[in-house]
């Protein structure tokens, strides 16, 4: 995969979107762009969503300290955004980060574990928020579930996963990689059975009830 980096921290505000778009257009299909901003990148992304919606996948990697790091992937198959392109892509990206963080911990590389785990935490929190603040509500209403049933279970499991992420972060803060790995080995089953329920059951149904409105909904939720 081609990787490009772009630093927008010193770029004047009115030029940022243009520079980001130019760097994006220069990417080959499937290419990956890392970009750094001095503040929350969502502001510059709004422009990108207006102009290039359906052609990219964005994910935040690091926030704060006047140095926010994000990544953008140029989609190989542009088109309307479905769950496959957004929530499922994020499941797989988090799986990868999880496995890499675990591998780094197995090698005893504290620094790299922290880096990758930080990205995992950010990715998962954004994903939870998108689902809890918008997606679940929409599915809930359309399916007439009144906040109960599958969506309530998914919310509960998010809370449990947040707990496990805190547990892993605690172990990492104490530089206890052994304990980090023990916690990750519990987390993985919680996370994967949750993903499976969503991907095999909830998402297909959500796609059925939302149909063509899915693209619009996801666009609305994108910058949560």
């Amino acid at each position: 995969m081609t990787e490009t980096t772009l630093d927008l921290r010193e770029v004047p505000e009115n030029e940022r979107s243009e520079r980001l778009t130019a760097a994006f257009e220069a990417l080959p299909s499937g290419g990956l762009l890392f970009f750094t901003t001095a503040e929350d990148p969502r502001r510059v992304l709004r422009q990108l969503i207006t102009n290039l919606w359906g052609r990219f996948d964005w994910a935040p990697l690091k926030e704060g300290d006047s140095q926010w790091l994000s990544q953008i992937v140029k989609r190989e198959r542009p088109g309307p955004t479905g769950l496959e392109d957004m929530l499922i892509v994020e499941h797989r990206r988090c799986d990868d980060l999880f496995a890499e963080a675990e591998a780094a911990a197995q090698e005893g590389d504290q620094e790299r574990t922290e880096l990758l785990f930080g990205r995992l935490e950010m990715g998962m929190e954004r994903h939870f928020t998108i689902e809890e603040e918008g997606f679940f509500q929409e599915v809930d209403q359309r399916m007439g579930l009144m906040g109960g049933g599958p969506v309530a279970v998914m919310r509960d499991e998010h809370q449990q996963m947040r707990g496990m992420l805190r547990r892993m972060a605690g172990a990492l803060a104490e530089s206890n990689l052994e304990d980090f790995l023990a916690a990750s080995d519990t987390m993985i089953y919680l996370m994967e059975q949750h993903n499976m329920k969503e991907e095999e059951m909830l998402y297909p149904m959500a796609e059925e009830v939302l149909g063509a409105e899915m693209d619009e909904l996801l666009q609305r939720l994108y910058l949560f």
Binding site: D95, D96, F98, A99, E100, E102, A103, Q106, M143, G149, P150, A152, V153, M154, Q159, Q160, M161, R162, G163, M164, R166, R167, G170, A171, A182, A183, D185, T186, I188, Y189, L190, E192, Q193, M196, K197, E200, M201, L202, P204, M205, E208, V209
Partner: protein, 451 residues
């Protein structure tokens, strides 16, 4: 797609699958004791009554016991619909245990009332179980490869059990069977190929990507394996009735080999490409099972050309203990540990002193248990091929040890309950139902407590 059917909150209470999971190793111990007692005479022919007792202690007592418990647990999650009538599950379990005990004693002693007792236990147990599964599958909101393989496996089980009851009826002199041997062959194809083989592969598609982050199995491979698995019991049964010579059994054998070949290829590729590089006993058990499957078929192929029973007995050892028991044992470690954690500890997941899976089922005892399982396999394969009495008895004892250890590890996990006494809190209140206020987990009786 039936939206109203979607329920993701229908996981049954913990004791429901656990009673099956904890009973299964005890039947394994029973099988080992029987073998240690009778020795190589059990390995001479698959059709003697004591050998049938041994075989059914493993197939029904261990394999089916685990698979039924697992189906009660995973059907709500994998199929997305609750299993109805969970209040009757104790009856299913009781019927299976008593019916199987009676069947074993009847096969060993021949006392006629035991035959009736076996039917009285097994018939209601399977009727209820199969009825529950049929209802759950009928309400399935969506049909994917896993749901399809569950349906196929359960159908094969229904047919295999029906034939089994037909045999019991014949021995009770209710009727006379015109062709017992072909029916028995069909029974074996349905039970091993249809029920055991299909369910294990179906579960494999679901759990290997989950446990090891290996990526999904390619859909065309899973459907290909399933097509072979559908053809296997059908062709096997047809050949059993119609074929003029045993060589015709090569047709179902080739189908079984194709299914095994594709499945083995897919699993090996998935495990090699897995993103999680951890090695645990479950992985070791998958590797053992996947290695034994082609060996068992090779043994069966030799039997087709050299009809000496020792090749058939070696097939039995390799398929039932090497393939099926291995994979199910490995799955038990993961499922039991996760279920205990989910039911007792998930609500306080953020606390630093909350037990983790490795506290509930530590790695080292399971690794040792895997070694005893390997030893048992080695002894019994050689005993089956040579007919050596000492090896058969030693293999029986090894089976007692490995299943006994499996039982103790699972029992300790089932009883694992640690209320948090620490005051360090992240704001989540720990609730504990049992009230046993001990700071340390209490191992039941064995010293497998180190983390």
């Amino acid at each position: 797609m039936n939206r109203k059917g979607l329920r993701l909150d229908q996981a049954p209470p913990l004791h429901l699958p656990l009673r099956f999971f904890l009973t299964a190793p005890l039947f394994g111990v029973g099988a080992g004791l029987l073998l240690a007692w009778k020795g190589a005479e059990l390995l001479l022919t698959p059709w003697s009554f004591p050998t049938l007792a041994l075989v059914h202690l493993i197939t029904l007592g261990f394999l089916t016991m685990v698979m039924m418990g697992a189906l009660y647990q995973i059907t709500p999650v994998l199929v997305g619909t609750p299993v109805p009538g969970t209040g009757l599950v104790w009856l299913v379990h009781l019927g299976l245990v008593c019916g199987l005990a009676a069947l074993t004693l009847w096969l060993l002693t021949g006392a006629p009332f035991l035959n009736w007792l076996a039917v009285a236990g097994l018939l209601p147990a399977f009727l209820i179980f199969l009825g529950q599964m049929a209802l759950a599958l009928r309400r399935a909101p969506t049909w994917n490869a896993t749901v399809f393989s569950i349906a196929l496996a359960v159908t094969a089980l229904a047919l295999a059990i029906s034939l089994g009851l037909v045999f019991l009826g014949e021995f009770a002199a209710l009727w006379q069977l015109p062709a017992r041997r072909p029916l028995a062959t069909a029974h074996v194809y349905l039970a091993l190929g249809g029920w055991v083989g299909t369910l294990i592969t179906g579960v494999g598609y679901a759990v290997i990507p989950m446990f090891y982050l290996s990526g999904k199995f390619p859909a065309h491979l899973t459907w290909l394996v399933m097509a072979f698995q559908l053809l296997l019991p059908i062709s096997g049964s047809l050949v059993a009735f119609l074929a003029p010579s045993p060589v015709w059994h090569l047709i179902p054998l080739l189908i079984a080999a194709s299914a095994t070949g594709v499945f083995t290829f897919a699993v090996v590729r998935a495990l090699r490409g897995r993103k999680r590089r951890i090695i645990d006993s479950t992985l070791r058990y998958w590797q053992t099972g996947i290695a034994c499957a082609p060996l068992s078929l090779a043994s069966l192929a030799v039997f087709t050309f050299h009809p000496e029973f020792r090749w058939l007995m070696a097939f039995g050892v390799l398929f039932l203990l090497g393939f099926a028991m291995s994979i199910l044992s490995g799955m038990l470690y993961k499922i039991v540990a996760f279920l205990v954690w989910l039911h007792r500890f998930s609500k306080m997941a953020g606390k630093m002193d909350v037990p983790l899976l490795r506290d509930i089922i530590p790695h080292r005892p399971t690794a040792l248990q895997w070694w005893t399982h390997l030893l048992m396999l080695g002894l019994l394969v050689v005993a089956a091929l040579t007919g050596h009495d000492g090896l058969a008895r030693a293999g029986g004892l090894a089976l007692v040890v490995s299943c006994g250890a499996l039982f103790l590890i699972l029992l300790r996990a089932a009883r694992f309950n640690r209320p948090t006494t620490s005051t360090e809190s992240t704001g989540i209140t720990a609730t504990n139902s049992s009230g046993a206020a001990t700071a340390e987990p209490q191992p039941p009786s064995q010293g497998s407590t180190e983390a």
